[in-house]
Subunit: 328 residues, 2 copies
């Protein structure tokens, strides 16, 4: 048995490694997209810039329950000097804008969300006025123009960018797009991320644990991590500690995956064969990081696809995943 | 038309409202549980305290590639004063613990993850030693006892609490449980959260938007929020602005839901009927919050189930959801 353990000659800083990774990602081709119902787009990555097709609100509307007025009519109103206004109608949410009109000295009862009548430019809150007799209110507080009014276009102006391409879609994006009546969105297809495990000590979850064997828990965790980041994990199994076998399984995996993660076999011991395999069919870009745990972490390119070489140890694999694989 | 808008007499602070909600939650009955494969448990809430069934690592193992030694043999080793050790074998990950043994002056080649041979208590890193001839190494650095060794039970000791009941299961929990060969977990059943929308101005996403109408975007957003919090949203539709109808739909919804969210109809205008409906079949606990937007937010109890009364406006509904509905 010939021993050939030399350790890492030179460690790469995380910053430098990320720089290299960014350089690679910039050159990666655009990914496939698909169109999904908005209601199924949670957590997916938006594949297009989406602009507002109309103003939201699409009309000046009341932000409170109260009375739509001409603000100037209320100037100087106070509890000791109330101003009387005549109620000429009421508007509720859903009523058509422009269906009522007020003149000086008049008001319209409005519920929150109702359109303002023509000529009205402010709303007195219900608690700042009182009905003194049928069709007549006393106003105890002045309002300035557009007070208590949600103005046309104040949430989104027509043509405004609402969700940028590349944004991970969150519940509030879905709310915003729904308010704009956008029922379908173009999203990037989920990246398929293969996981290839090395290590003859590994057994599958739920197997009998013979002495010296350990559960391949890194794979189980990586699948969950990939799922939680919006990717599609592809289980490529456990490969024996042999350069030729590793190389074949990487090539095979990359046929159906957009990128690949290997675990284990990236250190410098006698069986550290993944970087060697990657170099035979592609190019190792980073191997050996100035962090601990996770020193043997690295990545390379095989047929223009990224191969992330993570540690076999769960905590180090988690760090490697969070640093390099997880989308930013 | 009789106007009856009075505004909120008294607003509740968020802190006080949360206190009331906590009081209610403490009295809520335990939820149903189900047993899931670990690999499908991501994002679910753990329904039991899970303890380690064995030590992890289950044996002292090497944390590096190098040579397992008796630490005391290396004391005073340095580049100018190397110490020679005889290699008596090698151990790889997966080899059985206790399958090799060293004596004073001896070492065993070990790869990261390999068990230590009997009598060894430390590992020299590969880069701190050199093979001088077949079966003989020079050691250039001393190691202290248990240096570069992952000790039995250092990750988890047998009987240690690994995941607490009530924990939202994250990828790293899955990794930890997998390492303990725990393939199934008991989780709480997903709470079914009904969403009942009020507002005659509302239309469904994708419908034609007539003047004055708006898309029921709050519902779409709330569904996504409930999904992203691990709940199961149940669409209870849009109810007309009528106390009797609202009351029936709440009672009906609660038959199949664990809790219910209403949107809109919680302000004090003429059509603010949800709190009234809740009070007819249960009890409003909080209505009117000292926040803006979201003042009309509240909650109540109907047949011991929570009814959250949120604003119809998306941003205010989001705030109400995050404050009261979202699990902490």
């Amino acid at each position: 048995m010939k021993l050939e353990m030399e350790g890492f000659k030179k460690l790469t800083s995380v910053e430098k490694a990320l720089q290299i990774l960014r350089g690679v990602l910039e050159k990666q081709e655009k990914k496939d997209t698909e169109v999904l119902p908005l209601t199924e787009s949670l957590g997916r990555v938006c594949g297009e810039d989406i602009y507002a097709p109309f103003d939201i609100p699409s009309f000046d509307r009341s932000a409170v329950d109260g009375y739509a007025v001409i603000a100037e009519d209320t100037f100087s109103a106070s509890p000791s000097n109330p101003i009387e206004l005549k109620i000429v109608g009421s508007l509720m949410p859903g009523d058509g804008p422009g269906s009522l009109k007020i003149d000086k000295g008049e008001a319209v009862e409005v519920a929150t969300g109702a359109p303002l009548p023509i000529n009205a430019n402010a709303v007195i809150m219900a608690e700042d006025a009182k009905i003194v007799e049928s069709g007549l209110i006393e106003v105890y507080k002045q309002v300035h123009p557009f007070q208590n009014v949600s103005r046309k276009g104040e949430d989104f102006k027509i043509g405004e960018l609402v969700v940028r391409r590349g944004t991970r879609i969150k519940p509030w994006h879905i709310g915003a797009l729904a308010s704009l009546n956008i029922s379908h969105v173009k999203v990037f297809s989920k990246p398929r991320i293969g996981i290839l495990s090395t290590g003859s000590e590994l057994v599958e979850l739920g197997s009998e644990l013979k002495p010296g064997k350990i559960v391949n828990s890194s794979k189980i965790m990586l699948k969950a991590l990939i799922n939680s980041c919006g990717g599609e994990p592809v289980d490529l199994g456990i490969v024996e500690d042999d350069v030729e076998s590793i190389l074949e399984r990487i090539e095979d995996g990359l046929r159906s995956c957009d990128a690949l993660i290997t675990t284990g076999g990236t250190s410098i011991g006698r069986r550290d064969l993944v970087p060697e395999a990657v170099n035979l069919i592609g190019r190792v870009l980073v191997h050996g990081l100035a962090i601990r745990p996770g020193k043997p972490t690295g990545f390379g390119l095989v047929k223009d696809k990224l191969v992330f070489m993570l540690s076999g140890f769960p905590v180090a694999a988690l760090i490697g995943f969070n640093l390099f694989v997880k989308p930013t």
